[in-house]
Amino acid sequence: MNYLPDFPRLLPYLPDLMAGLMTTVWLTALTTTLGILGAVMCVWQRHRAPTSLFSRLLGMLVELLRNTPFIVQLFFIFFGLPALGLSLSAEMAAVIAMTLNLAAYSSEILRAGVDATGRGQWEAGRALGLTRWQSYRHVVLMPALERMYPALTSQCVIVMLGSAVVSQISVADLTFAANFIQSRTFLSFESYVVTAGMYLLLAIAMRALLNRIGRRLFGFRHLTPAPRRRLSSHVLKEAHS
């Protein structure tokens, strides 16, 4: 038990960590964008034609993705699909798996937001002469995105943290770098603590960035948490009178 952690010995490996971090960042940025787009398209399709065969298949795929572990999805795509003649690089497989995973979860989050809007408003939009897509986009989708933005943000961070698993198919991400360093130095505690710290900072930074983007898109309304206790408006009114 008299082991003293030796963090300075990690210093020579800083470039490896940074390279790994960059991989994790670009993977996350790419798959967040693709995943949300996929979710929007999935929700649109299931909204447009809820009973069509394609929509039902999409619904089944979403349930399948939500009820199986990400690592198994990754292995299936990376090891299983080549058996069907579809060979993928590790990075490709990682991008596909992460995108599908995020899209599946986000589409359910969005659908909950869409349900809250109600059919009447969409029809009101149609009645004003908007096309189906226009009506959907302005009357249904944007309010749903706005309402569900905090939940979507959390989901994106969860997918980023889950991406640590892609190291298992040799994508050189941050976790891969940590494994590499600990196999060289045997400083397992130090390398994993430092890496975990980097993930934590990344998660915090990502949340801050997404909140910023959200404020750009929707204004302050829903994104600043309501203060716990707040003077009721009538008290304030009186102060000015």
């Binding site: 939500r66 009820n67 299936f76 299983g80 943290l161 889950g162 698993v165 505690f189």
Partner: protein, 217 residues
């Protein structure tokens, strides 16, 4: 190389799935106990308790579960602690689950309307009695659906224990894949088995949410 029939693969996976269930159960029970302790700690209103709980949650929700498993398995070895993959997985998953369950339950306690506190307070109930008779019963009811929902995340989380060599469903899958060289079949079956465990729970969570919402007042 031995020839594996489909039944051989499935049989081996089913045997390994027992360990997935066992690990999930331990993580759920352990996570509940620790999560409950955290929730009560927070409710004591001791100075620092809220901060501690927040940091704890932030730490386990802000780092990858895989990293937590590595730390629990490889990280502690340098201190001379020789932990088995089984122990490391159980500990890491317990801590991971406790952070999420605590967060869910804290949210439920806070979601009980302020009027309930005031209603109890003007009747003369103190903090503990209000908690026990008024707040917790209502929070408990709200907590059921999201707790069941989170159990799905725990089952899926146990798949990561395969990475530190714990032989559960996913690890059995990779081993069978190496033996059979039939990745498509093997991982499809693995996925189906997880689905068979998780989907009923997901459905149950959704059903409970709808049902408890309807009668919620």
């Amino acid at each position: 190389m031995i020839d594996f029939t489909l039944w051989d693969i499935l049989r081996n996976l089913l045997l390994a799935a027992r360990w997935t269930l066992a690990l999930s159960l331990i993580a759920f029970i352990g996570g509940s106990l620790v999560g409950l302790a955290l929730t009560f700690l927070r409710l004591t209103r001791w100075p620092g308790a809220a901060l501690f709980c927040r940091l704890y949650t932030e730490l386990f929700q802000g780092t990858p579960l895989l990293m937590q498993l590595f730390l629990a398995f490889f990280g502690v070895a340098v201190f001379g602690l020789d932990v088995s993959a089984w122990t490391a997985a159980a500990v890491a998953l317990t801590l991971f689950s406790s952070a999420f369950l605590h967060d869910i339950w804290r949210g439920c306690v806070e979601a009980v309307p302020k009027g309930q506190w005031e209603g109890a307070r003007v009747l003369g109930l103190g903090y503990l009695k209000t908690m026990r008779h008024i707040i917790l019963p209502q929070a408990l009811r709200m907590a059921i659906a999201p707790t069941v929902g989170f159990s799905v995340q725990i089952i899926k989380g146990t798949a990561l224990a395969s990475v530190i060599g714990f032989v559960e469903l996913t690890k059995a899958g990779t081993m069978l894949n190496n033996a059979t060289l039939e990745p498509f079949t093997v991982f499809a079956l693995v996925a189906l088995l997880y689905f068979a465990m998780c989907y009923p729970l997901s459905r149950l969570a959704r059903h409970l949410e709808a049902r408890l919402n309807v009668t919620a007042r």
